[in-house]
Every structure is written in C-alpha cells, then in structure tokens.
C-alpha cells in the first residue's frame, strides 16, 4: 500500500467518523428551526403561485415528519394544517359573499341581496365569477402557507427551549412566561374540579351566583399555588444576584429606557416623511445600540448557568441557511419574472413554475435529511 492510499483511507475514516457524529440523534437549536421556518414564510409571502405555495407546504410537512420529536408540541402541526384549510375556505367564502362579481367566467348566479343606499359599494352575493374565487383562493393559500411554516417551527422546536435561549437580562421575563405556561393547565384543572364540586351542592352551573361559586375557590386556589411556587423558587435560589453598585444600576436603567425611547422615536422618524433626516435611521440605530448595551450590562448582574444549553453548530447553520436561501431565491425569482410568481387571475392563466422557484423549494427541503435526527422515544417503564 502506498503512502497516498493510507492517507486517503485515513481521510475517508475521518470523514465517516465526522459524518456518524453528525448523524447522532440530538435536538437542533430551536433558533435554527425558527430561522428556517421564517425563511420559508418569507418565501411564501413573495408569491401567490399556487404550485409554489403547495410545494412549500409539502416541504414543511416533509421536514416535520422527518425531524420532529415525540413531545406533545410536536403533534401540533396537524392543527396548523387544519387552520390553513379553514383560512383558505374563509377567503373563498368571503369573496363569494362580498364578491363584487368582476370577471368573465361566471360559475353560478346567486340571488343578490339588495342593500340600502348608504351601503353603496358593497354587494352581497350575486353572480360568482371564476376569477374572483380563484383570487380568494390564491390569497388564502399564501396566508395559510405562511401560517403552516410557523406551525412547522412550533412542531420542530420546543417553544420553551427557545425561551431558555434568551439573553440573561431577559431571564426573568422568560421565567415568567414558562411559569404562566405551566399555570394555565393547572387553572383549567381547578376550574373543572370546583365546577364538579359545585354540582355536588346542587348548583346548576349557570348564572352569576354559579360564577361566583366557581371563581372564588379557583382564585383562592391559584393564589395559594402561586404563593407556594414563589416560596419554592425563593428557597431554591431564584433571584440570587451579584452585588451591583447603585451607580451601575442607574446607568443600566437609563441606557435601556433611553434606548427604547430612541427606538420608538427613530421608527416614527423613519415612517414620517416630513421630519428632519437625523430623526430617522440614525436615531433608530443609536437607540437600538443603547438598549442592547443596557441589556448586556444588566445581563452581567444575573449570575446563573445553563444546564445542557443548545449549542449553535454547523448543522444549525446549514438548516438556518437553507431557510434564508429559500427566501432569497424566491425574491430573486420575483425580480426575474414577476408575472409567473403572481399569476394573474384575469385573464385566467394556468400557473407555471420558474426554475428559480423550484430551486428555492428544493433548498428548503434539504433539512429533512441534513438536520440530525431527533432523539428517540424515551422508553416508559411505568
């Protein structure tokens, strides 16, 4: 065996070792999935082409099926798809009811409901044209696709892990959200329990008295629980802070508040065309910088470590990159041939795909294989 062959084989070994490490099941950083999904949603927002949109939905579904975990939120995707169907149906129905009836190809003629004089310009029912139904369908499909893309992110990434990734300064806010999320089902449970108990006293469960009978014990219950939780968090060390001199605290507060004010004023300046130029973008950027600086400073006060943090590795970069590339390619496709991405409904034309759009869809589908597989089902011994 020659030296070169040995060299080649070790290189191959190294690559295969890297590949198998890559394939180790793990949860991807939730941020990566969200960026990918936002990229897809952006792509969807730049076209009304039903073929493109359907392909995007299919890609989202494919990736979800390939790479979702086994946690409860992973099953939410189906719900988003149904929501999408409802949105499309609603759009079409609205177009039929408040149609206006422009278009040559009339499908059916519904009886028009006459409206009084002051409602001129609104028409109820009347002739239904194919163009108008199709327009509603395209519109609805675009909205539904964007929603389904976000639903895919929700199914792929634990929303609570995303909260764990917030910067230190926002840690308290993140904790509050997590607690609120876990309190909600408890509240529902205690409402059900108390309502059942009210039936034991012969209450029908209706009227203001019944409401009082349920609300008071539930509120008392919720209060007890939150006190117990606060006591537990306190005795487990929540809110241990590094000693911070009063001066630095004041600086931090001023920076954050001033920065946020700057952001507000800057946004206003940017949207308002009359005001002087320095009120726009420069102020916005300065405000943003001040706010971020303040938060970083405040984050140093929070003395806390993270257990098994999600790391941003190559796979995360690639997945997020796929989403962003898909968005970018769609925008490019839009500049190349806009009439194909927004197929006109009048005159009626058959929608066509452009190679660029097809490429965008293909890139968006890559994470189905590129992302590491999710962790297998935890075996249940009980």
């Amino acid at each position: 065996m020659t030296d070169a062959a040995v060299d080649r084989s070790t290189t191959a070994d190294r690559w295969s070792a890297r590949w198998s490490a890559w394939r180790l099941p793990r949860g991807l950083h939730p941020g990566a999935w969200w960026l990918w999904a936002l990229g897809l949603a952006t792509a969807a927002s730049h076209t009304t082409n039903p073929l493109g949109l359907t392909l995007l939905v299919a890609v989202a579904a494919l990736v979800v099926v390939q790479r979702r975990g086994h946690a409860p939120w992973a099953l939410a995707f189906r719900m988003y798809v149904w929501l999408g169907v409802v949105i499309v149906a609603m759009r079409v129905v609205f177009r039929i009811v408040f149609g206006g009836g422009q278009g040559e190809y009339v499908l059916v003629r519904l009886p028009e409901i006459p409206l009084p004089e002051w409602a001129a310009g609104i028409r109820l029912l009347g002739p239904v044209a194919a163009e108008q139904v199709l327009g509603g369908f395209y519109d609805g499909l675009r909205l539904a696709t964007m929603l389904i893309c976000l639903g895919a992110a929700n199914a792929l990434a634990n929303p609570k892990r995303l909260l764990k990734a917030v910067p230190g300064a926002l840690y308290a806010v993140g904790t509050a959200v997590v607690v609120a999320l876990s309190v909600a089902p408890q509240l529902v449970e205690s409402v059900l329990r108390v309502r059942r108990a009210r039936r034991l006293r012969g209450a029908s469960g209706r009227g203001t008295r019944a409401f009082r009978g349920v609300a008071l014990p539930v509120l008392a219950d919720a209060l007890d629980r939150s006190l117990a939780l606060a006591a537990a968090m306190d005795s487990r060390g929540y809110g241990r802070t590094a000693a911070v001199p009063a001066g630095q605290r004041a600086v931090t507060g001023t920076l954050v508040l001033g920065g946020l004010l700057g952001v507000c004023a800057g946004t206003y300046g940017l949207l308002d065309t009359v005001g002087p130029g320095y009120l726009g973008l420069p102020l916005l950027l300065a405000g943003l910088a001040a706010a971020v600086g303040g938060m970083l400073l405040a984050g140093r006060r929070v003395r806390r470590s993270r257990y098994r943090p999600d790391r941003w590795r190559l796979a995360e970069l690639l997945v997020a990159g796929c989403g962003i590339a898909a968005a970018g390619l769609t925008v490019l496709a839009g500049t190349a041939d806009p009439e194909l991405l927004y197929p006109p409904v009048s005159p009626l034309t058959w929608p066509e795909l452009t190679p660029m759009l097809l490429l965008a869809v293909a890139v968006a589908a890559v994470p189905a294989w590129l992302a590491p597989p999710p962790t297998p089902v935890p075996r249940d011994h009980t």
């Binding site: 904790t175 997590v178 034991l200 012969g202 117990a228 306190d234 060390g237 470590s305 257990y307």
Partner: protein, 543 residues
C-alpha cells in the same frame, strides 16, 4: 447544624405566637421529626429554618436562627439555597420547569454551577432516588410518589446540608409513602444529610427518627429522643398507645421492637379474639350499583364494578392512587362521568338512579364530600355557608348549623372557611352535604392533614352517621383509620374490586393492609388498641 436561639415568631401583634422562646439544636446528620396538632406551628418552625419565616411570610422573628453558621436574619432564603433544601407539601405546586431532568437542574442553574458539574449531579441524583427512567417525563404525568421523589431530588442536586420536608407523605398511598421514606432514610444514612421532617402519621416515620420535636400548640417545643417525648404526648400512634397500655418502658417505636416485647401481652390475651361486630339488625340495602364503568380517554378507571351498601354500615374503600376509588364514588353519586351500569338508591322516595336526577335532587340521594372539601365552600363566613345550605335544600333555617354543632361544637359563625383548620373545614363541608339528608354519604380521602385527635373525632362522627341509619363509604389510604372505623373493607386495583369482606378478614389477610397492632399481635386477630384494652379490662374483671 441548626440552632434556634430564643426564637419567638409572631404574625400578628395581639395573636398568640406560633413559636415562643424556642431554643434548640439539631445536630449534623440527624433525622429530626416534627410533630404536633394541626396549626401548632410545625410549618412555621420548618420555614424558619431557611428564612422563609419571616422573609417571605411576613411577621416578626425575635431571637436568631442559624444554619451551618449562617444567620437567617442576614441571609434571605435564596442565599441559603446551597445549604437548606425545602420540599413543600404539594410537590406539583413547587415545580418551576416541566420535565424531570430540567427540574433537577433548576436549583443548580440558580447557583450558577458549571455545566459539567450539573450534568454529573443530575445523573447521580436520578440514580440515588431511583427515578432514572423518569428523566424525560413531563412532571404533571408522574404519580404522587414519583413527584415527591423528584421534588426531593430537585433540592438534593444543590447538595444542601439540611433537607426540610413538610409532610412529604400526606397525599400518598402506603407503598408510595414507603418509597419516599426509604429514599429519605437512605440520604440520612449514606450521605449524612440532616433531615427535618414534619409528619402527622407518626407510625410511618418515628422508628427512623433520632430526635422528636413536639409542638403542644402553646408556642413551646418539646425536644428529645422520640420514645421519651412520646411518653408524655396525648396524640400518639397505635404502637405507642399499645406500649402504654402494656406498660412497656421505653415505648416501642417500631413493629419489631414491640413484637419482641409482646410475648407476655399475647399470653395475657390468650386465645381470645375481639368480639365479632354485631351484625346490623336489618341488613337493608341503601344503594346498589351494578356493572359501573368509567372511562377516560386512554384509560378505563372503573371496569364493571358491583357495589352494595347496607344501611348503618361504614365501608372503607382502599387501593393505591389511581386505582379508581374517586372515579367510582363520583360515578355512584351521579355527578361524575359514567359510561355504563346502573345505580339504585333506596331512600324515602323509593328506588331512583341519582344520575337521572337534576343535581339538587341527586344530592338528596347521595351526598359526596370531595377530596378537597374547601371546593364546596365559597362564601365569606361559616354562618353564610350554613344559611346558603339551608336555602339550597329548602331545609328549616338552622338545620345546617345544628348539624355542624353536632360534628364540631362551638365553631365561630363569623370565621372565614379558609381560616378553619383542615378538620373544621371537613366538618363544615360534611354538615353542608348532610343538610340535604341523603341516606348514603360518600367521603373521598377525608383524613388528609388530620392529626390523631381530629381523626379520633372523625371516627366518632362517622360512626354516629352510621348509627343514625346512613350508609357511609370512606375512601382512604390510612390503615389505622380503617381498623378503627370500618365494618367492611373493599380493595380496588386497576378499576376492579380485588377484595371485599369484613374489616378483620381483609386487613389481617395481607401485611400491606395490616394495622400496627395486628402486626404486633399476629396471629391473634386484634386490630386496634381499643379492642385490646377492652379485652384486658374484661380479663381483669372476673379475676
């Protein structure tokens, strides 16, 4: 390890202080048991250890509490988190995250331990408490005993030197309670953790305790070895009462201790047996249920159960958590779901199925007091609740109050129901339900949080109901209570009845359900101290 130096705690200026001039020391590595009546200040004592009293609860604390050299006056609870771990009564309400592994790590994240240390400690703790297979499970899906062990694990990961547990087993069935207590004793023996533990059912833990802190209720704390302290205490577990009766000194703390000394007592009792309970004069069936089925999505809670209740009989319904006890009671009452079967209540109005009646009439057939009796109450005063109960049932004014006075005399009418003790609240809820005069009364886990004295009153109260011609069902985990109270015991498992017979038959048949007296005096069929006492008196009299 823990030092109280002349500690007095007051929540209000004029009220009696829950702790008055308390001075005590708990040494390192001890298992210290805190006992006392409800409201005697046990929780105050426990919460003073990590500074929750007064930092969190308010009130004033005179004197000083020192833990591992740190004074709680200068260290709020969060700064003591690495020294004291506190687990509350209801573990679920103290969980901050939603899966087992994250919950175990939460405390360490707050202490900002390095990730490598956290990872290692989580694995160690999972093994130490035997919960490794639960690591990915959502906390809400765990059983009570598992939740309690996770809660203990969640504070253990911070490696505290002191572990404070407030009634860790009060909501658990006997087996789950054993698991938790086994875990706790392992911590004391293997890791040298100092444990301070409050508990009502002393019979479960007193044998493991090195020190007993008894709170008589007047702000004092009696401190000493368990046997010595228990000798001078009015409320006592059956073993101690048996020891007093037999004149053993020191008092036995475990079944093993007692059994080794009981040869003489067994001899005195001879081959005698407790008098068989007088059969009910008229075994009339008050309620008969056939083929009851209760299903929840994914599970069958009650699988075709037949149940007959006799007038004047107290039935104890036992079985582990989740065996279908509550579902059966709710289905029989008619307010809960019931997918199959029939219930017939034979009352004054003839035979009816409560499920077919509107709620206000169903409660005239079967009265149910739920697991949290406070759910039934929603007005501001005791009098208000009584008045409302009279109105709801169209009973004569004062009916509910009269019933309440029979149950617990002298409850102030202007008191808020939430300010009552557990026992008083239970009595009020029961009085409210009895105002409708149902022939059948169902009680779901009524003795949670009741101390020995309150339990004794509860037994008298329920026996009174039975004597007045009601059929009573009590769902409970408490074997000692069942031994003293029930005529008949039904054991459920997986939604089916696995044993049904007289109390003596069922309880003597299996060690899991045997009360302590039975374990000591086996194979003779004695169940309670009262039975033994009566037999001893009878034996002495003819002599």
């Amino acid at each position: 390890m823990i030092t109280f130096d002349r500690v007095t705690v007051r929540y209000t200026e004029d009220g009696p202080p829950p702790l008055r001039d308390v001075t005590l020391t708990v040494e390192e590595g001890e298992l210290c048991l805190v006992a006392g009546r409800t409201g005697a200040g046990k929780s105050t004592l426990l919460r003073a250890i990590n500074g929750l009293v007064p930092h969190f609860t308010g009130g004033t604390l005179h004197g000083s509490v020192t833990v591992d050299g740190r004074d709680t006056r200068r260290h709020p609870p969060r700064d003591l988190a690495d020294v004291v771990g506190v687990v509350g009564q209801d573990p679920l309400s103290g969980f901050v995250t939603d899966t087992v592994e994250e919950e175990l790590a939460y405390g360490m994240e707050q202490l900002s331990l390095p990730p490598a240390v956290m990872r290692k400690r989580v694995e160690e703790t999972l093994d130490l408490l035997g919960i490794a297979e639960l690591r990915d499970r959502p906390l809400r899906t765990l059983s009570g005993g598992q939740q309690q062990r996770v809660a203990i694990g969640a504070v253990l990961t911070s490696h505290p030197r002191v572990l404070v547990l407030d009634e860790p087993t009060s909501a658990l069935d006997p087996t789950a309670a054993e698991e938790v207590l086994a875990a706790v004793t392992r911590l004391v023996h293997d890791l040298g953790v100092t444990v301070v533990l409050a508990e009502h059912r002393l019979e479960r833990v007193m044998q493991y305790a090195d020190r007993l802190l008894y709170l008589p209720g007047d702000g004092r704390v009696v401190n000493g070895p368990p046997a010595a302290v228990l000798a001078g205490v009015e409320l006592a577990p059956p073993l101690v009462e048996l020891g007093r009766l037999a004149g053993w000194d020191p008092l036995p703390l475990s079944v093993r201790d007692a059994r080794r000394r009981a040869a003489e007592l067994r001899g005195r009792l001879g081959g005698g047996a407790p008098p068989a309970p007088a059969p009910a004069p008229d075994p009339t069936t008050a309620l008969s249920a056939r083929k009851i089925v209760v299903r929840y999505p994914g599970t069958v809670a009650v699988a075709g159960v037949d149940l007959d209740l006799q007038v004047g009989q107290v039935v104890a319904l036992m079985g582990r958590n989740g065996s279908g006890k509550s579902s059966l009671l709710w289905a029989v009452q008619g307010s809960g779901p019931r997918q199959g079967g029939a219930v017939t209540v034979t009352g004054a109005a003839g035979a009816v199925d409560p499920k077919s009646l509107p709620a206000h009439q169903a409660r005239r057939q079967v009265g149910l007091v739920p697991q949290t009796p406070g759910d039934l109450l929603y007005l501001e005063t005791v009098d208000g609740e009584c008045h409302q109960a009279d109105q709801e049932t169209a009973a004569a004014a004062g009916t509910c109050r009269t019933l309440l006075d029979q149950l617990t005399p002298g409850l102030p009418g202007d008191r808020h129901p939430r300010d009552l003790s557990e026992g008083q609240r239970l009595a009020l809820a029961l009085a409210v339900q009895l105002t409708a005069a149902p022939p059948v009364v169902l009680l779901d886990e009524p003795t949670r949080g009741l101390d020995y004295l309150a339990k004794r009153q509860f037994v008298a109260l329920v026996r009174g109901l039975a004597t007045a011609g009601r059929a009573v069902v009590v769902a409970t985990h408490d074997v000692e209570l069942v031994a003293a109270l029930a005529d008949r015991v039904i054991v459920m498992a997986d939604g089916e009845i696995v044993a049904d017979g007289s109390t003596a038959e069922v309880m003597l048949a299996s060690p899991a359900f045997a009360p302590q007296v039975a374990k000591v005096l086996a194979p003779a069929p004695w169940l309670t101290v009262d039975q033994v006492a009566a037999a001893l008196v009878a034996e002495r009299e003819p002599a």
